[in-house]
């Protein structure tokens, strides 16, 4: 009995330590890893629906291939299935934690590979309400993080973290509700430079895929314009053994069909 009590107490201490003892940056780092780097690699069919306040819809349908490299580097290969005017377009990113990304764009109508200037990671990804950083992650060191409190969000235990940019950003403050059990962000609020709330992220569905909790439905809403982007991740698979040859200029011109179905 005493052993049980001791164990329970130990578990309780451990749980609270996530909220209080563990420093905020570690919580964010773990969350980034769970959200943006789970597994060795990932394939997902990503469908983004862009919705205007008036209800007009646009669809971005793509396959995302992601591979983690040594030292926190990542490679992304994004193949667009639709809409029709961008079908076959490929966007490739080499993401580095401490320097600017390398980005390439392949335009099939021209058989042309372009290099894309990548200075502003906060700019919109393909016209959606998500920025490049929202899609592939922001350096943990780019903000100073503080644990504000722990609270339940729809019956899920979360740690609320406040992040204030130390480097260039389009927000003055970000609040994140990070679930303790999965380390995934369930909700994020972005405040603009005047301190007003302008963007809200929510993870609307979380599923476990091969043991990795995965946010399979996500929404980013711009509360100022009323524009929002809903994203679904389908056919998610981890640890496929994606080869280096996928993330090359040659594969931009000749997409790896095997992985794009």
């Amino acid at each position: 009995m005493a052993r049980h009590v001791l164990l329970m107490m130990f578990a309780l201490v451990l749980a609270t330590s996530v909220a209080v003892g563990e420093d905020a940056a570690s919580v964010v780092r773990r969350s980034q890893e769970a959200f943006h780097s789970a597994g060795m690699d990932l394939r997902a069919r990503v469908k983004m629906t862009l919705l205007t306040k008036e209800g007009q819809q646009r669809l971005r349908d793509l396959t995302m291939l992601r591979k983690n490299e040594a030292g926190g580097d990542q490679r992304y290969y994004l193949y667009f299935h639709g809409p029709a005017d961008v079908r076959g377009t490929v966007f490739m990113v080499y993401k580095y934690p401490m320097k600017e990304d390398d980005r390439w764009l392949f335009l099939p109508a021209l058989n042309l590979v372009q290099r894309v200037a990548a200075r502003d990671s906060r700019s919109s990804f393909v016209g959606s309400d998500f920025s490049y950083e929202d899609v592939s992650g922001r350096d943990v060191e780019a903000d100073t993080h503080k644990v504000l409190r722990t609270e339940a969000l729809e019956n899920r235990q979360t740690v609320v973290i406040e992040s204030v940019p130390a480097r260039e950003a389009d927000y003055s403050k970000k609040l994140s509700w990070i679930e303790q059990a999965t380390s995934l962000p369930l909700k994020e609020e972005y405040y603009d430079l005047q301190g007003a709330l302008y963007k809200i992220f929510t993870a609307d569905e979380i599923r476990e895929v091969q043991g990795f909790p995965t946010a399979t439905k996500r929404t980013m809403t711009n509360v100022k314009t009323g524009h929002k982007t809903e994203v679904t991740f389908e056919n998610v698979a981890y640890n496929l053994g994606l080869g280096e040859e996928i993330f090359t200029e040659r594969a931009l011109r000749k997409p790896p069909e095997k992985w794009l179905k």
């Binding site: 809409p83 005017d85 058989n111 290099r115 200037a117 502003d120 700019s123 016209g127 200029e249 000749k254």
Partner: protein, 441 residues
């Protein structure tokens, strides 16, 4: 179209009667599909699904200067057509077939026509890929400036504001792709010579060094010795995409040879032999993307530079810088130069009264692009300016995606310069406004 591919015996008969020269490739490729075991290797689901895509497009371009060149096709309309493009893409484990065919009605000449833009078969053998057929190739790092991109261009399409893919003239080629140890190579053989397409004299006002003289054209014959060869070896060096280029073939811009200089009665457009050796690099630096490219143009038919009708050997270079200044706004700058290597020989051999080229022709370009409304509206400007020719060419553009399938673009083409004999200056009277509406499916 789907039935055409699925049925086997009647493929060739399904084609509308066209000019035979344009058609030889398509039946050949379709036969290849049957030779290639595409279907047996594909999954049943894939075999059922035959992806058919393309677009419907209306594209008109009108001269706004009020001037009209003489000729049967003259008028304010520089270009006008309705076009249907059909793309067919079929892949299996052993290969891929791709067809991109345009059916169109030329509103200026008032006739229907057809253009096979791409028609090729891909196969893989070990670590190498082979692509045979009509294809588009783009090399080099220039933005509308070409050094090692020695493939054919359609300047008439570009100058009349047609969608940018029509600047490219597809070529019937065989291409081999190889990779080993982080280095890749493309080797291209082009047995059929394709000249650059210049703006038509019927539709464009332009400089004519031999006004009123009868013209003829002498293209390189189709024989083994005239096969053009091009190679590109590329890889990444310190985060920079770096490439070496080799080309052995012909100038694609015609060199005009008069039968006699004093009072010519016949002018022949010829395509002298050319070799190009070059290199390029491109990567992140200075908060943006920096690029550089060089090329040595070896004019094989006139290495001494004494024949003024044949382009001089030259050294060409460009540097570029592209940067995003704020969200959805990008600026691109380029500087380009062309240095003639035997200028004294060229100058002393040029007929008197002919406008002489500068020894060191230079060009600057500026590209500005701003996106609005969740990137559905694009407002842009591309500008060429040559400080040596003292001419310019401005291309303002507005493009709006009405929906995921429908877009509308309005493009201006504004030319000018101090003289009417320079590359852009000669089109001073051809300023035009083009409208394109495209529905993609």
């Amino acid at each position: 179209m789907a039935q055409v591919i699925r049925g086997s015996g009647t493929i060739c008969a399904q084609h509308p009667p066209g000019r035979p020269g344009k058609w030889f490739l398509t039946p050949f490729l379709l036969l290849c599909v049957h030779a290639l075991p595409l279907t047996p290797y594909a999954s049943p689901a894939v075999a059922e699904e035959l992806p058919l895509h393309g677009f419907l497009q209306a594209n008109y371009s009108a001269r706004v200067t009020g001037l009209q060149p003489p000729g049967p096709e003259s008028g304010d309309l520089l270009f006008g057509e309705e076009r249907l493009q059909v793309r067919l893409d079929k892949s299996g484990e052993k290969g891929r077939l791709f067809l991109r065919t345009d059916f169109f009605h030329d509103a200026v000449a008032n006739r229907p026509d057809l253009e096979v833009r791409e028609a090729y078969v891909d196969t893989s053998m070990g670590g190498s890929d082979v692509r045979v057929g009509r294809q588009l190739l783009i090399w080099g790092v220039g933005d509308y400036l070409f050094i090692n991109d020695i493939f054919a261009k359609d300047w008439g399409a570009f100058f009349s504001g047609r969608p940018v893919e029509y600047l490219r003239v597809p070529q019937d080629t065989a291409k081999l792709d190889l990779s080993a140890g982080g280095i890749s190579a493309e080797i291209v053989a082009m047995p059929f010579f394709q000249a650059d397409k210049l703006p038509s004299r019927d539709r464009f006002y332009q400089f004519d060094p031999f006004p009123g003289v009868v013209r003829t054209e002498h293209k390189p014959d189709m024989r083994y010795g005239n096969t053009e060869w091009a190679a590109r070896i590329y890889g990444s060096a310190g985060g920079f995409d770096t490439a070496l280029y080799l080309y052995h073939g012909f100038f694609r811009m015609p060199a005009l040879q008069a039968n006699q200089m004093t009072a010519p009665t016949l002018v022949t457009a010829t395509f002298p032999r050319l070799a190009v050796y070059g290199a390029s690099t491109r990567g992140n630096a200075l908060g943006g993307v920096v690029s550089a490219e060089v090329g040595y143009y070896d004019s094989l038919s006139d290495r001494s530079g004494r024949d003024s009708a044949i382009p001089n050997s030259s050294f060409r270079y460009l540097t570029g810088y592209q940067r995003q200044l704020w969200e959805d706004f990008t600026i691109g700058l380029q500087y380009y130069g062309e240095l003639m290597l035997h200028y004294d020989a060229y100058r002393s051999s040029a007929p008197s009264g002919f406008p002489l080229q500068d020894q060191h022709r230079q060009l600057m370009t500026l590209r500005l692009t701003q996106l609005f409304w969740n990137q559905t509206l694009r407002v842009g400007l591309f500008a060429f300016y040559s400080p040596t020719d003292q001419d310019y060419y401005l291309i303002p553009e507005v493009r709006y995606s009405v929906s995921d399938n429908l877009w509308v673009a309005v493009v201006g083409n504004i030319f000018g310069g101090r003289k009417t004999t320079t590359f852009f200056g000669q089109f001073d009277a051809d300023d035009n406004l083009a409208v394109t509406v495209r529905y993609e499916f």
